[in-house]
Symmetry: C2
Subunit: 532 residues, 2 copies
């Protein structure tokens, strides 16, 4: 299977057909790629074009999240897509190998950003900021195995909200969790669960179980795999690859199997003898008790699950960590079968969509030392959340196939046409331009056909495709007498001749008509996004 075939096939699966396009069949695409041996006509591996209704949905998701972020007092920033390479070094643990580097073309060494968190910390340090609530919606880059239809890509958007500043324990943290619940609910994701854990508790458990301090991070990253691998595999990694004894691993195993409500798990931890003397664990337990109160105040306890198997791969977290998952997050039940089959058929698996789940749809945590890494240790405590918007998109898309039909990708309101024919008929092109220009000046979204003479059918077809609600018609006899015809579209009544209006009244009549047409109309895209 050629790259082009796969790109076309995943594209076809992931995206609605683009306006004016016949969807490419795999067959057609592979024929094409043979003909064009100079060009592989595709986007780079793990990236895709966004267009048409997919784009409308994604923009609506961004709009929903932007309102949410502003509701919580957020301001937005924009940092460069690449950073000096040394800024990113040593921040991502085992995932550092996934960073994209720019070529050394005789200047500074730079890399594409891997997330929005490290650039945010660099920004806070660079500008000596003492407190900020910032949101940032932008693309990040990871040289990972793509699973395109599950929203796992090499170039993808993150929608981040972070609070930097010295505040009381768990106060901003609980607000971020509330914002997470609000965000997912307003995107129509209702069956989600927020897994919570605390790095200080986790580190304390590892220490109390007998892991040496220098091994804590690598044992943590083994535990992080528990959402994808069974305990036996993780245990094996600890013992065989990471040099822990069986007993240490088993002790850890007893802890990381624990999960439940914050208060229930706290009770178990508080009564555990192993942890009694561990300072780190006790500090974490104290913070989680405070969090339990605030989670109640915000009425979001029902969404949370204290889950000791949650570790999060990244190095920079220092306190509370969390991940939101839904039923779509897990891989299909026959995943390992599908994976084997895929690997037998191809030498390299190009797209893992078949046998992976969507994964977590939002994740984050507290990172109190990251800013300090850029400012001689004078740090600003931070906590934040990142929404995986392409993953949420794939969930919305899967549930909204029917509603999608009602959505138009353009927002055209009026289509200007000319009717006429016979001797001396010139198509009224310049007149259509003039009338259209009047509507534009009034802020009305208007199109007309770019032909000097156009027949009636073609103009109506173009109007329909544009999604316009009203046709403004320049009749061969009527227009020279200062009159226009106005017809409401999409009523299914072809015999309706519309109404005659004066040219001078055009703008006001169209504005009135549009507001009467949209008075009771529900915004389809809002309904779709919210899952109503």
């Amino acid at each position: 299977m050629s790259d082009a075939t796969i790109a076309a096939a995943t594209e076809a699966a992931a995206a609605a057909p683009i306006a004016n396009t016949k969807p490419q069949s795999s067959k057609k695409a592979s024929k094409k790629s043979k003909k064009q041996d100079q060009f592989l006509l595709k986007t780079p591996k793990g990236t895709k074009d966004w267009a048409d209704k997919d784009m409308v949905i994604r923009e609506a998701i961004f709009g929903t999240l932007t309102s949410l972020f502003k509701r919580h007092g957020g301001v937005t920033i924009d940092t460069p897509v690449f950073e000096l390479r040394e800024i990113l070094t040593g921040k991502y643990g085992e995932d550092s190998k996934l960073i994209y580097n720019l070529e050394d073309q005789g200047g500074e060494l730079t890399s594409l950003r891997y997330d929005l968190t490290v650039p945010f910390a660099r920004f806070v340090a660079c500008n000596s900021i003492s407190s900020i609530k910032r949101y940032h919606i932008a693309k990040v880059y990871r040289r990972d195995q793509p699973a395109m239809t599950k929203g796992r890509m090499r170039e993808f958007y993150q929608c981040d909200f972070d609070v930097a500043g010295n505040y009381d324990t768990m106060v901003p943290d609980s607000e971020v969790l509330t914002l997470l619940c609000e965000g997912l609910t307003s995107l129509g994701v209702k069956d989600f669960k927020i897994k919570l854990n605390h790095r200080k508790i986790l580190d304390g458990i590892f220490q109390a179980c007998g892991v040496k301090d220098e091994d804590v991070r690598k044992i943590s990253s083994a535990v992080d795999k528990l959402d994808k691998s069974p305990w036996e595999a993780v245990k094996k990694e600890m013992v065989v690859e990471k040099g822990q004894s069986e007993e240490v691993a088993d002790r850890i195993g007893n802890f990381v199997k624990l999960n439940g409500s914050i208060r229930d798990v706290l009770q178990i931890l508080q009564s555990n003898d192993l942890l009694k003397e561990n300072e780190s664990a006790q500090k974490g337990i104290e913070e989680m008790s405070i969090l339990a109160d605030y989670v109640d105040a915000f009425e979001i306890a029902g969404f949370t699950s204290f889950d000791l198997s949650l570790a999060r791969g990244l190095d920079y977290y220092t306190g509370l960590i969390y991940e939101a998952v839904t039923s779509a997050s897990a891989p299909p039940t026959n995943a390992s079968e599908l994976k084997e089959k895929a690997q037998k058929e191809k030498t390299e698996v190009e797209d893992a969509s078949e046998y992976v789940g969507v994964g977590s749809i939002a994740a984050g945590g507290r990172y109190d030392n990251l800013v300090g890494m850029f400012s001689n240790g004078k740090s600003i405590p931070c906590v934040g959340i990142s929404f995986g918007v392409e993953r949420i998109f794939s969930i919305i898309k899967a549930r909204a196939t029917k509603e999608l039909e009602k959505i138009s990708s353009s927002q055209t309101q009026v289509f200007v046409m000319a009717f006429g024919g016979g001797e001396g008929w010139n198509g009224f092109l310049k007149e259509r331009m003039g009338v259209t220009n009047k509507l534009w000046s009034a802020g009305i979204n208007t199109e007309y056909l770019y032909k000097s003479k156009a027949n009636i059918r073609k103009q109506f077809d173009a109007a329909e495709k544009s999604g316009a609600q009203i046709a403004v018609i320049l009749g061969k006899e009527e227009y020279p007498q200062g009159q226009l015809r106005l017809k409401v579209l999409g009523q299914g009544d072809d015999s309706d001749q519309g109404e005659i209006i004066n040219v001078d009244d055009l703008v006001s009549v169209v504005q009135d008509k549009l507001s009467s047409l949209n008075k009771d109309g529900l915004d389809e895209i809002t309904r779709l996004i919210k899952g109503l």
Copy 2:
């Protein structure tokens, strides 16, 4: 001067100070960079962070242009920030050396996009699209000499609108010119001029003057420098570097000095004997005559100037080309002096802001063969415009220094506080969370101070910084009786105690109050953008 000093200095000049930040002086920054020899704490050369009010202005510019693009029936797409390298090869003439490459990390060879036009053509070809009006607001990358305060950067936004499809001559072209005028006017840029030219006329002139076909493109790129260099320098380049005779160069010189209204310049060209037999020139002249009519229909003739010195550097244009300029576009009158001084003082000039102008603020043209380069010659004609939004930003910023003070970077509406003290006072933190949560649920932008106990002064300071219009106050005595105090902020009347309301009425009272406060209020950012 170190990199960090320059970054800080240009930053300080280009951006408003960020909230909670003491603006860094150059002195302070250079001291800092000495201390941190491990880290150069800055963004890569030619890039910058956007934040605070600058970000609010830029977002408002994007909003204005997005409405404009939708008004003309545009739909938006999103393409990857990097493309397969071969897609970009051979599209940009002499500027190809400015393309950023990604490192070869064992996969496909890719490069950052140089503009949005080539990716658009690749997208049209990839998806076999026959017609589309698309807009795209995104970053592009050029390894060029930066001039940060003039909006000339290595990473910068383009805001593009393009029409692809087979339509009647000059119809979409004239709409794009109209859209350009609407766009600049709605951004408060009023003194602009659109320089127009036609590649077929220009090529015809070169041929008729005696330039060989294979030399036409390189002579064109010499002419392109006429906005920055005097005719004598350009002539020298033609004769000395590009092998033309003095006579050929002088003949070209007579043409490229011509400019004026479309109809006036057309008259001169139509009566020119040299061009009479030249097919290319005659075709271009015919098209420009048609354009003159449409420009009148759209009432934008006053903004245009037919200027035969306009050549545009890029290879892919095939027809009408244009560039919008304002008084800020030209370099300062003592530019060459400033440049010499800068070069004497430093070995390498890091920022050219001092001696360059803003340059063109929007540019574009017709490119009928670009899509065909990606689809075996089966091309789709295209025409488009790109707004240089950072350059427009620098013009708006320069004129709106006073209006900027009135703008808040967050959009917070309500600040929730607690008043109390004495014995048993716990700060009502959880109660503030609950009240805030009610306002969030109603979609109201609300903040509160992240402290369990906070004094009154600190809460009012935070409220003021947030830009909130209303304070909702939980009084130690009042709140337990189901009452809240509501106070309008920013009225300068500290003695005003506000009004008492019932907790149950909170949302409806706040909504009423907010709409009465904003009824007559003009949106400051809209006024600022439009230059009212």
